[in-house]
Symmetry: C2
C-alpha cells in the first residue's frame, strides 16, 4: 500500500483505528479451542467484526510464537485472512532488530513470505539494522518513543547535548528512512507531548500504541498528529485488549464491533476540518 | 543448564566455541533441497560434525523465519536435535524486545515451548522488556555493545555524564539481572576493549559475536574475558559462516569439523593457566 493510498483510505473512512491482535489463550472466549486453530478463528472473528471501523490490523507476533511451532502456521493463516481486506494496512508487530544480513532475512520472512504490509523494528543496533526493511511496496515502522514504563530507562536519558536519546534516534531516522514507506512508533508520555514529536518529524506517520493510560485522549493524539503540511491525520491509533476482550462470551464479536465503532465515532467527531 | 554446569562443561573441554547456525539457502551445499527440510538436515549435519569441539549452538531465528511458516517447524526440529546434546548450551538468537506482557509471550514460546536454554534480547524498551526472560532454569542474553557498524549510531553516543550509552545499559543490567542466568552480548570495537567491559561487569558471561573482523583475536578475547574472580573463562565466542560454509560441497561436514577443531585448538593453546 502506498502512502497516498493509506491517506486516502483513512480520509474516506475518517478512521485511524488500528486493531491490535494479541490472541491470549487465557483470555479468549471459551467457545474457541485453546490452541492455534482457536487462535486463528478468534482473530478472524475479530477482523471480520471490526473491518468497517478500522483501517489497520496489527498481529503481535509474540502471542503467536508463544504457541510454539504451530504459532507461525496460525500467523500465516491470519496474514492470509488479512489479504481479503486489501484496503486495510497490515502490521506485523515483531520489533526485530539485528545486523544487516540478518535483518534482510527477517524482512524476507515477514514482509515477503507472510506478506505483511509492514513490520515494527527496534533501533539499538543502528542504521544497518534498520535499512534492510526498506523494501519496494512495503513499510517499516521504527521504535521512537514508547509508552511503557521502561521508556524512562534509556529513551528518556539525556545525551551530552542535553537532548533525550529518543530525539537522537528520531534525528537519525530523518536521515536514514523516508516518510514514504516508514512510520515511527510514538507513545505520548508525561514529559513529552506528541506535538513536540510532530514538530521534529513533520511528515512521518506515527503508530500510537494506545490512548487512555498515559497517552492522552484520541482528540489530543489526532490533533497533534496532523501532518505539518496540514493535509491528513498522520497517525494510526492502536487498540488491542479493549477490542479483542470486550467480551469473553459468545457475543465477543459484536462486543468487539461495538468498542471499535465507539472509537471510530470518537475519531469522526474530532476529525480535523 | 546452571552457571556452574556451563563453567564445568567449558573447563572440561577447554572450549568456548559457540557454533552459529545461519542456514542460508543460497549458500547451503547443493546436496540439500532448497527448503525447510534441507535446512533441518544441514543444521543437524553441522551440529553432529562439530559437537566435539563446541560448547554451544546458536540458531539465528531470522534465517528460519525467512522460510515463512515452515521456518518455525524447521527451527523446532533443530531445537529438538539440540536436546540430544544436553551438555551443549543452546541459544535462540532472536533479539526480541517488547513490553512486559509481550516479552512474557516470547519467553514462553522460545524458552518453554521450543525449549532453548537461552534467548538474546534487546534493551531499547527498558527494564520491563528485559526482566520477563528471567525464567527458572533458563538464560537471557542481553545486547550490550555490538560489533556491527551500526553500534556507532547509538550505543557509542555520549550521554550527559560523558559516558557512552552502552555503559549506561551495562550499569542498568547490573541492577536488573543476575550473572547466574544472564549473559551480555559484547563485541570488541576499535574504541572499546573487552577488558574495559570486563572491568565494568566482573562476573557476567559475554557472548562474543565473532573474532577476526573488528573483534581482535581469540587469545585477546579469552584473556580479557576471564572472570575477575580469576576462575573460569567467561566468554562464548561465536563462529557462524566460517564453520557452516567452510565448504559448499559434499564434504561440508568434515570441512565444518576441521574449522571448528582449528578454533578449538587455538582456544586450548591460549587457555589461561
Amino acid at each position: 500500500m502506498t502512502r497516498a493510498e493509506l491517506i486516502k483510505n483513512i480520509e474516506n473512512k475518517k478512521s485511524v483505528l488500528c486493531v491490535g491482535l494479541d490472541p491470549d489463550l487465557t483470555k479468549m472466549p471459551s467457545l474457541f479451542p485453546s490452541n492455534s486453530n482457536g487462535v486463528v478463528e478468534f482473530c478472524k472473528g475479530i477482523i471480520d467484526a471490526t473491518a468497517d471501523y478500522a483501517v489497520a490490523y496489527k498481529p503481535n507476533l509474540a502471542f503467536f510464537e508463544s504457541l510454539g511451532e504451530s504459532g507461525w502456521e496460525a500467523l500465516a493463516k491470519v496474514a492470509d485472512h488479512l489479504k481479503d481486506y486489501p484496503q486495510h494496512f497490515s502490521i506485523a508487530d515483531a520489533k526485530r532488530g539485528d545486523i544487516g544480513n540478518t535483518a534482510k532475512m527477517y524482512a524476507e520472512g515477514i514482509l515477503v513470505k507472510l506478506g505483511f504490509d509492514s513490520i515494527t523494528v527496534a533501533p539499538y543496533m543502528g542504521k544497518d539494522s534498520i535499512e534492510p526493511f526498506s523494501i519496494l511496496g512495503k513499510w517499516g515502522i521504527a521504535l521512537g518513543l514508547t509508552s511503557n514504563p521502561g521508556a524512562q530507562d534509556f529513551q528518556m536519558k539525556k545525551m551530552e547535548d542535553d537532548r533525550y536519546l529518543y530525539e537522537h534516534v528520531l534525528d537519525a531516522y530523518k536521515e536514514w528512512i523516508s516518510p514514504e514507506n516508514w512510520m515511527i512508533v510514538v507513545g505520548a508520555t508525561r514529559e513529552v507531548s506528541m506535538r513536540k514529536i510532530r514538530h521534529q518529524l513533520p511528515e512521518y506517520f506515527f503508530l500510537v500504541p494506545g490512548v487512555g493510560h498515559q497517552g492522552g485522549t484520541i482528540k489530543h493524539v489526532m490533533d497533534s498528529g496532523v501532518f505539518t503540511s496540514g493535509i491528513g491525520v498522520g497517525v494510526l491509533i492502536n487498540a488491542s485488549r479493549s477490542i479483542c476482550y470486550a467480551s469473553s462470551d459468545k457475543n465477543y464479536a459484536s462486543a468487539a464491533a461495538k468498542e471499535a465503532s465507539r472509537l471510530h465515532e470518537e475519531m469522526k467527531y474530532y476529525w480535523p476540518q
